[in-house]
């Protein structure tokens, strides 16, 4: 996957520090891995809650996961247009991430279904900047890449 072509509008992350580029320069959700005990975290942590180790590294998280639970939100704050689908996806690193479900109708959604966590523009902010966020998409059936597993 190539980096998106540069556009005139400046881009800002949904929140500072939530993305990190993977080896091919593609932005991914940033997690923390404890170098001492191997536990992964999202969002990032300064100290490992498992072993209290401080030797941690920021790592790009996998983009493939499995839906744990979901809801349709009918009432929200004014920034969000309702209804929308929201779900927790479990990633192979053992972290659970909340994200909106894009391109899916509620009748097509099942707990346990494979999904892809995609970093992408989600809206334009008040200053006209493109906001880079993340959403869950249907996993492509032709994706033959084996399930990503984190390094031991």
């Amino acid at each position: 996957m190539a980096e998106p072509a540069s556009t005139a509008a400046p881009m800002v992350p949904l929140q500072p520090g939530i993305f990190v580029d993977d080896a091919s320069g593609v932005p991914r959700l940033a997690g923390t891995r404890c170098r001492t005990c191997g536990t992964y975290y999202f969002p990032r942590r300064q100290v490992c809650a498992q072993c209290l180790g401080t030797d941690t590294e920021t790592v790009p998280l996998s983009e493939r996961g499995v839906l744990y639970t979901y809801t349709v939100v009918y009432q929200s704050t004014p920034e969000f247009r309702t209804p929308y689908l929201l779900g927790y996806v479990d990633l192979p690193e053992g972290v659970r991430v909340l994200a909106p479900l894009a391109d899916l109708a509620v009748d097509d959604v099942r707990a346990g279904m494979p999904l892809r966590l995609v970093v992408e523009p989600v809206r334009t902010d008040a200053q006209g900047r493109v906001v880079l966020g993340y959403r869950l998409h249907r996993a492509q059936p032709d994706e033959t890449r084996p399930e990503e597993t984190p390094p031991a």
């Binding site: 949904l14 999202f42 969002p43 942590r45 744990y68 349709v72 939100v73 929308y84 053992g94």
Partner: protein, 379 residues
């Protein structure tokens, strides 16, 4: 170390109070608690105030209205557990030997600030992607349904029970009952939860007076012993655990039972944090009051009704009585006081000797809840 006793309790009616400010509500509850205790207000040595959205020095503004200004006061914010933590801080100041007579109160005016769904902190990452409080509980409801076969109808029965109890409580926001069909067919909020599965937007205040062993000997009003006051924070998520159980409440309950020297089987009634219908299930099971996965079926059998095996939320709970955040944990104590004194009128739990109050507040990305409290009161 002194024991801690509650000798006075008071609250405002919960609901929408367009003509009263949060300070008016706080003052009404504080004066009611002082009158109930029958003490000279000059004996109050310190105060703790729980609130979430009421701005700077909200507690001090209440002291200025009630003739108490000048004493030490601490404002406490722990989301929906704020009031319960204010009670705990007051109790700890007595145990520490610092004070003999202490006021704990909580208050919130939400209808002036909010309509509809509340969210976790505005700058939390999960809020930024669209999480609301109803949405997190809707997702946990789905997890409980999947794991234990809980039905939509069983969840609705919890709202039916708590609104029925509220109709017997003159201080409750809702005085009318609802049917299962009305709960299931109400406006959807976050699937599968509908309007009556959610606690309302409320205004209100509640207050209690706590005293030491020494002060108790000078007070004629019936004193009830605070047998336990436990507080825990949520742990950081590690690995993929079920959202159909609630470890933060399990850990807090263990600490409270150990402090009180009792087990869940000795509890006669419980006021638990039913911010949503499913929330009562998660909490009652985590408190060990009913087996995990079994509570919805037990509600269906009437075991949690007033007059049942273990009445849960006889006050109407958050669903029926209302949920003015900072006031909630203190109002639970007010209900326990009424029940253990035998002053609960039509909703009286016969022979109640031990009452448990539970709050759980807040949510942050990657953390299992923020603050959980269990307070146990004994006759």
């Amino acid at each position: 170390m002194s024991s801690v006793w509650i000798v006075g309790a008071g609250m405002t009616k919960f609901g929408k109070h367009v003509d009263q400010s949060v300070v008016d509500l706080g003052a009404e509850a504080v004066l009611a608690a002082i009158a109930d205790a029958g003490i000279d207000p000059r004996r109050i040595e310190a105060a703790y105030c729980g609130h979430v959205f009421q701005g700077m020095v909200a507690g001090q503004r209440v002291l200025a209205q009630t003739g108490l200004a000048g004493i030490p006061l601490t404002n406490v914010e722990d989301a929906c557990s704020s009031g319960a933590v204010a009670v705990r801080e007051a109790a700890l100041s007595i145990r520490a030997g610092e004070h003999d007579v202490v006021l704990a109160f909580g208050m919130e005016h939400l209808t002036a600030r909010f309509r509809g769904a509340l969210t976790p902190a505005e700058d939390d990452l999960e809020t930024a992607v669209g999480l609301t409080m109803p949405a997190i509980y809707a997702m946990r409801a789905r997890a409980h349904m999947q794991e234990f076969g809980t039905t939509r109808r069983q969840l609705a029965l919890i709202s039916v029970k708590n609104k029925r109890n509220a109709s017997l409580n003159p201080f409750a926001q809702f005085q009318t009952t609802v049917t299962v069909d009305e709960v299931i067919n109400a406006r959807p909020i976050a699937d599968p939860l509908c309007l009556y599965d959610c606690s309302p937007v409320s205004d209100g205040a509640a207050a209690v007076i706590l005293v030491s062993d020494r002060a108790r000997r000078t007070i004629t009003r019936t004193a009830l012993r605070l047998a336990a006051t436990a507080l825990r924070t949520g742990e950081v998520d590690r690995g993929l655990s079920t959202m159909a159980v609630e470890p933060i409440t399990q850990r807090t309950a263990r600490a409270a039972y150990e402090q009180a020297g009792i087990g869940p089987e000795e509890v006669d009634l419980a006021e638990v944090h039913d911010c949503f219908s499913i929330a009562e299930v998660l909490r009652v099971e985590a408190l060990g009051l009913f087996p995990i996965g079994d509570y919805p079926a037990r509600v269906e059998r009437g075991d949690a009704d007033i007059g049942g095996m273990l009445p849960v939320n006889p006050s109407g709970g958050l669903l029926g009585k209302g949920h003015p955040l900072g006031a909630t944990g203190v109002a639970q104590m007010v209900e326990l006081v009424r029940q253990l004194r035998g002053e609960a009128g039509q909703r009286q739990v016969a022979g109640a000797r031990v009452g448990l109050a539970h709050c759980r507040g807040g949510k942050a990305a990657g953390v299992e809840g923020a603050a959980c409290t269990v307070n146990i009161l004994a006759a």
